[in-house]
Symmetry: none
Subunit: 204 residues, 4 copies
Amino acid sequence: MAIVTRRERERRAHRRDILEAANKIFARKGFVSATMDEIAQEAEFSKAALYLYFKNKEDLFLSLIHEKFDSLGEKLREVASADASPDVKIENLVRVHLEAFESDKEFFQIIASEHPRLDVEAGDRLRQDMRERYVKYIDMIEDVMQEGIEKGVLKDVPPRLLALALTGIIHAFTAQWILIGGEEPLAEKGTFVLELFFHGARRK
Amino acid sequence: MAIVTRRERERRAHRRDILEAANKIFARKGFVSATMDEIAQEAEFSKAALYLYFKNKEDLFLSLIHEKFDSLGEKLREVASADASPDVKIENLVRVHLEAFESDKEFFQIIASEHPRLDVEAGDRLRQDMRERYVKYIDMIEDVMQEGIEKGVLKDVPPRLLALALTGIIHAFTAQWILIGGEEPLAEKGTFVLELFFHGARRK
Amino acid sequence: MAIVTRRERERRAHRRDILEAANKIFARKGFVSATMDEIAQEAEFSKAALYLYFKNKEDLFLSLIHEKFDSLGEKLREVASADASPDVKIENLVRVHLEAFESDKEFFQIIASEHPRLDVEAGDRLRQDMRERYVKYIDMIEDVMQEGIEKGVLKDVPPRLLALALTGIIHAFTAQWILIGGEEPLAEKGTFVLELFFHGARRK
Amino acid sequence: MAIVTRRERERRAHRRDILEAANKIFARKGFVSATMDEIAQEAEFSKAALYLYFKNKEDLFLSLIHEKFDSLGEKLREVASADASPDVKIENLVRVHLEAFESDKEFFQIIASEHPRLDVEAGDRLRQDMRERYVKYIDMIEDVMQEGIEKGVLKDVPPRLLALALTGIIHAFTAQWILIGGEEPLAEKGTFVLELFFHGARRK
DNA sequence: CATGAATGAGGATTCATTCAT
DNA sequence: GATGAATGAATCCTCATTCAT
């Protein structure tokens, strides 16, 4: 059992406050346009204080990405490794996704906007890092698809393509949902996503 | 008979050169991080020269967006208004999309990355403008879906959701394709996209 | 009892240093030609530091104008509202003026050179602001003239014209004084100014 | 009799057009802020054309100053060297001044605003040059004052101071006149200027 | 003679980051 | 640990001036 001093507790709380502020600002402006000044203001700390908790702007950004991404990853992993049929797993996958998006709209805006530039301009840690996370995330979904194929639930096509298709649909819905203000419950769209993914759009 | 002097011809060519350079740099760095200096270098012009052709950085960016977006829009409009069954139209929609992405990888990277921040931080022309284009683009696809529903080809569900699903799949495939380097022909994925969109992933 | 921390004291001192440097440079080059770089250099600060104390170049300039102008205005107001005959008031007016010019040669060079363009190209705060100050300044002198007329000391002519004439003479003397290097004491010219203003140049 | 070809005539006309445009723009913006582009636009010539008629911006400005200043100087010289009493000469001096100001409001705005910076930042021709003109101008007026003193019309005080006082009054009136829009006839103020200069403001 | 096009040399402003207190 | 203050390194944009046609 870890002993956590008051000092340590406070430290963590402050760190969290800063991350939350960063989340808001990065979502609003994107990585480049967001300024440390703004984030400090939002966090109600001095600019210099940010540097006590994070090495630099990139580190702050990355920490944010890691934390949130890991949290989603954790949930997905649970779903994927659960003892359930592929059907149920996929259903849960979608649900967890939509719930995550809904509860953290701001963060996923960041992801959506910063992701595409990742492969180019490689070299710096940031890009490399985000890319890896993303790949791992798709990999995990691919695994579920693979299992679905093996168990005869899904068509025998490249499972990566299935993973991409599913996440593509989810992301498109989410993007649209953000675009229209993110008010109505997103989770409700789950059944539609699944219906479409499983059976397609053509009338039988 | 349009009289085009050599002067005018050169002017247009230079404008085009700059746009192309901008395309490359914006795709690589995003709007904010791209610098006029870099673009000038890429275009083999002086920085000041850029300002002879475009009012400022935003104008340059917007001109780029307009031009390319309009070109895709034009092609989609042709497909949508052609005298063909919804099936064929959707097939063509996908094909045109993938072709466009393939032939202009760099540009669509820009779109993908700049779009998400558009609704936030709105106010300036740039955001407003891009947002409008995007909505118009989805609208057009929605119309095709609507027609498909009316003609009994597609399930009777909100056509906008169908439009989002289709573009979501396409974008996911494209993003992945870009991620892995954009080498293998993207167009080949068309049949898979259609199969998935029409019939879903479940084995019958 | 005002509590002034060392921090605060230093801040004010630095602000003052920058204003003084700005005074010098603006006087030498005029508002447009003066560069923030030069001012920073003169103030022995980094260029960026200037922006910690003033919003921008215009703000720096305006702050300078305000401060000095207000100081002169204050002195003139004292003179004007004193309990004294118009004769004495006018005498004091001239004296205060010449003293102010003499002790702040550089600043009044700025005024002289930036003022004329104020009415044209109006619109931005700077112009508007300087113009208002100037009008208020002439107004105050006009009031003294008005009083002189009412008390039968001055001829019954439009008091504004008298105000203009007096300041005109003063400014001409000052300009000349600056032109020849501003070395000999300017205050000595006071009696001559008064003699001329009161009795004119014609031999009796 | 000089033979003036059409070529030559046109050249001069163009030169004049440019000078006039420059007059307008310099008056509006001051030397530094005025741009060659604006002047070209106003003159309805290409920017490059300006350089066919004037070596550079400074040369254009100086040419303008010279021309106008010389014209005023010429008139003043005529007045000064006329066969008339000092009284009449001074009267004419004032009249010519006010007429000149009135007919060339824009130009004298330039003078008023650019003059003060002339003595500092010396070295470049421009400053040097304008300064000389100005001194010569005051000198000429001083000569008339000197003559007035010698003929017993004016008080025996340093004639330069008298010259400064007279021009000071005139300039103050003019500045005010410009400030209020320069509409009402300025020349009417002549008698007031003279009355004040000769007899002062005190009631007898 | 005239001009459209091009550019080098700045200049204002911003911002991540460092330090002394 | 926290912060106010300071700065170097960009970055956008402007403008006088030159040149090929």
